[in-house]
Amino acid sequence: MKNRSGLYASWERFGWTMSAPSVLFLVAMTSIPLLSLLVMGTWRIDLTNPMGNRWIGISNYLEMLQDSRFWNAAWVTAIYTVSTVVLQVALGLVMAVALFRQVRGQGLIRVSVLLPMILAPVVVGLAWRTLILTPEYGILDYLAISLGFGSKPWLGDPRWALASVIIIHTWQWTPFAFLVFLASLHALPQEPLEAALLDTKTAWQRFRYVILPMIRPAIVIVVIFRTMIALRAFAAIFSATGGGPGTATEILNLYAYRVSFNDLNLGYGAAVATLLLFLTLAISAIFFRMRGSVIS
């Protein structure tokens, strides 16, 4: 919004006062912990061998470069994150576009689609592991057998396990993308939209040239947030596979957890977590640029 000369001062002040509570709150709550995390990453803090704890600068990071399990985790993270975010956004978009003009049953659709998100991630992981994917007892495996597809080691084979956790995560969070896009589509000014849609263009052209540009900011925000969440995913994967079999589903976040709370190597774990933080920052910054400036 352009500032009018007489109102400049009051709007500027308004900007500060309205954003102050959030900003101050976040600064107060997160600055010390974030700093501690950074500092811890430069120390050697190993509870299993407390004699050697001391400041070691960037040694943790150097060690990371040579750590094969770290690189494995990075690779798994890349596959996991890209797959699930792409799937979530694509599916969410398709569903939203297909359904936003459907007025009847909106409520029912929205609530039933919300259900996966409402089920707690810890419960989701366990339920999928035990009730759905267990060979023979699990309903999905049973369906696979009945449909002639055969029983698969859904969580027992490294590649299937990765596919399974990607599916679980996508299943749980696509509704988010769906709902955000739905609300976005509904909020668009209707006239230009109607006008464009009445043109006898193909559905694809309609989508690409009319709808897509209008909800681009929403798409970018969804991508940023889903990427952040995928990078931080923990509860569902952990209860489903524990990072296994072997290290097939051990994403960076899980690896950081394992190092910190299992191996009790807090310094190194903090370094991995810090790396994850900067990775998230870098990816988000790139996407952020793509959405254009904050103010339209």
């Binding site: 407390p50 050697g52 267990t134 023979e136 969580l155 296994g244 079999p245 072997g246 299992n262 009790l264």
Partner: protein, 482 residues
């Protein structure tokens, strides 16, 4: 009676009240006072009598139970029937000592994290927790917990004769010692035994296996004999407390040793490779589908549902599989010790829940904590909790910590799933032991993790057993060098 009462001499004449009224007044007051005194004394008198009854066993100890009266302690525990029982009867402790206990019930992994945070940060929030004995060396290395010997040797705190430390299962006490001192008191425990379908064995003419070979043979013969049932299962789920709760028994049964005399790890020795191959072959060929992710609950469910012929795992699973409401095979189960490995040894697991004392507490709180630990590990409490049923569907305690209770007829009656069940467990605990069943070093969390990954990698054929163990061995060597 008016004429009997002699009021105060002379003073009465000056008083406004007549002698008569004053006397009545004093009399009545006295009566009321007496009644009041009697009323307040009576409940505590009655209470003390009832309390004495309930606490009579404890009062035999020459210990002042009330020396830490008024203290409030927080203790971390995990969801488990035995801790539920302990929690249910802890109010007796509060009555006896005046010490209030507040429990937090959290899943095991998170509980350990919280305990570690509290100990490491020295925030002294939790007076004690139900610790994994494999972590005690770590606690000791960081000086987070007090040696219990100090408390055991203090006559004002402990009546050693009454407490009878030697009655507590020696294997568990040994497992909880670091450098010769006890750091955690065993309050509940278990061991692994061979559990099998007696009826199927009879049907196929099998005898309970004495050796590993025979065990594999029995698995082979019974696998899918009816077209469906799996021959055997051993834990596949990856984790220091999961698949690494079973494989070490195999490793040692093949004669393996974790470290040689120079301190070098030996997991990739021939014993290691052969035992891992046995484990993989058994699970791959005769295990139920999905066994590579099975932890004990899944194995137990498979068995209880009639889909598994036998397994080797915790003796506590008996309580569930012998319950007709929860299991289709109740009454058809047989129990035996671990089969012998090629070295001639049988090696069972060593597991107990150890209660330490948080070193960051104030001295008075530490004394209070010790009183609770002593009370919990004492014979009367262990016995009463073993017989306690917290609900109609309650599971029986199969892990009391005292030999005297294991040989007590009252307890044996309760756990008589089969006539020999108690003996199998007791013998396993006495003889099939090895204190170095798993390496009790501060680096155990890392070592356990390395081995768990290696064992599962071999099971799912990601690596060959030899390759997995070679890699693990190198990693362990590196860890020990740091």
């Amino acid at each position: 009676m008016e004429t009997d009462f002699k009021g105060p001499p002379r003073a009465g004449r000056r008083c406004a009240m007549t002698r008569f009224t004053r006397r009545r007044f004093i009399e009545t007051t006295a009566k009321i006072g007496g009644l009041l005194a009697a009323a307040t004394a009576a409940p505590s008198f009655v209470k003390r009598t009832i309390a004495d009854e309930k606490h009579s066993e404890y009062l035999k100890a020459k210990v002042n139970w009330r020396q830490a009266e008024g203290e409030q302690l927080k203790i971390l525990v995990t969801p488990a029937h035995y801790f539920n029982k302990f929690r249910a009867i802890t109010p007796h402790f509060t009555e006896l000592t005046g010490i209030k206990i507040d429990f937090e019930v959290i899943p095991p992994r998170e509980m350990r994290e919280k305990a570690l945070l509290d100990l490491g940060a020295k925030t002294a929030i939790y007076a004690s927790h139900t610790a994994d004995p494999m972590y005690l060396p770590l606690y000791e290395a960081n000086k987070w917990v007090d040696p219990l010997d100090d408390y055991l040797d203090d006559p004002t705190l402990t009546d050693r004769a009454w407490f009878d430390l030697d009655d507590i299962i020696p294997l568990w006490r040994a497992a909880n010692q670091v450098k010769g001192k006890l750091y955690g008191m065993p309050v509940e425990g278990e061991c692994t035994i061979h559990i099998y379908r007696r009826d199927i064995y009879e049907q196929l003419g099998l005898t309970p296996p004495e050796t590993m070979e025979a065990f594999a043979e029995a698995a082979r013969k019974s696998h899918r004999f009816d077209g469906k049932i799996a021959g055997a299962a051993l834990r596949g789920f990856r984790g220091p407390g999961q698949n690494m709760y079973i494989w070490p028994s195999l490793f040692l049964a093949w004669g393996g040793r974790w470290f040689d005399s120079a301190g070098n790890p030996q997991v990739n020795s021939e014993a290691g490779v052969k035992s891992l191959e046995f484990y993989c072959n058994l699970n791959q060929n005769y295990g139920p589908p999905g066994v590579e992710n099975f932890n004990w609950p899944e194995i137990m469910e498979a068995f209880a549902g009639g889909n598994l012929v036998q397994y080797i795992d915790a003796n506590s699973t008996a309580s569930v599989i012998e319950n007709p409401n929860k299991s289709k095979v109740a009454g058809k189960v047989g129990y035996g010790r671990w089969p012998k490995g090629p070295s001639g040894r049988r090696v069972t697991s060593i597991w107990n829940w150890a209660m330490p004392i948080n070193g960051a507490l104030s001295p008075k709180k530490k004394r209070a904590t010790w009183l609770y630990i002593q009370w919990l590990a004492s014979r009367p409490t262990q016995m009463s909790s073993a017989l306690y049923m917290e609900g109609p569907d309650a599971v029986v305690r199969t892990g009391v910590n005292r030999i005297s209770i294991w040989t007590d007829p009252q307890y044996r009656k309760v756990i008589a799933f089969t006539p020999d069940y108690a003996d199998v467990v007791l013998t396993s605990l006495k003889e099939d032991t090895d204190p170095d069943w798993r390496p009790r070093v501060p680096q155990w969390p890392k070592i356990g993790e390395i081995m768990a990954v290696a064992v599962q990698a071999a099971l799912v054929k990601q690596k060959t057993p030899k390759a997995a163990l070679d890699e693990a061995n190198a990693q362990i060597a590196k860890v020990m060098r740091e």
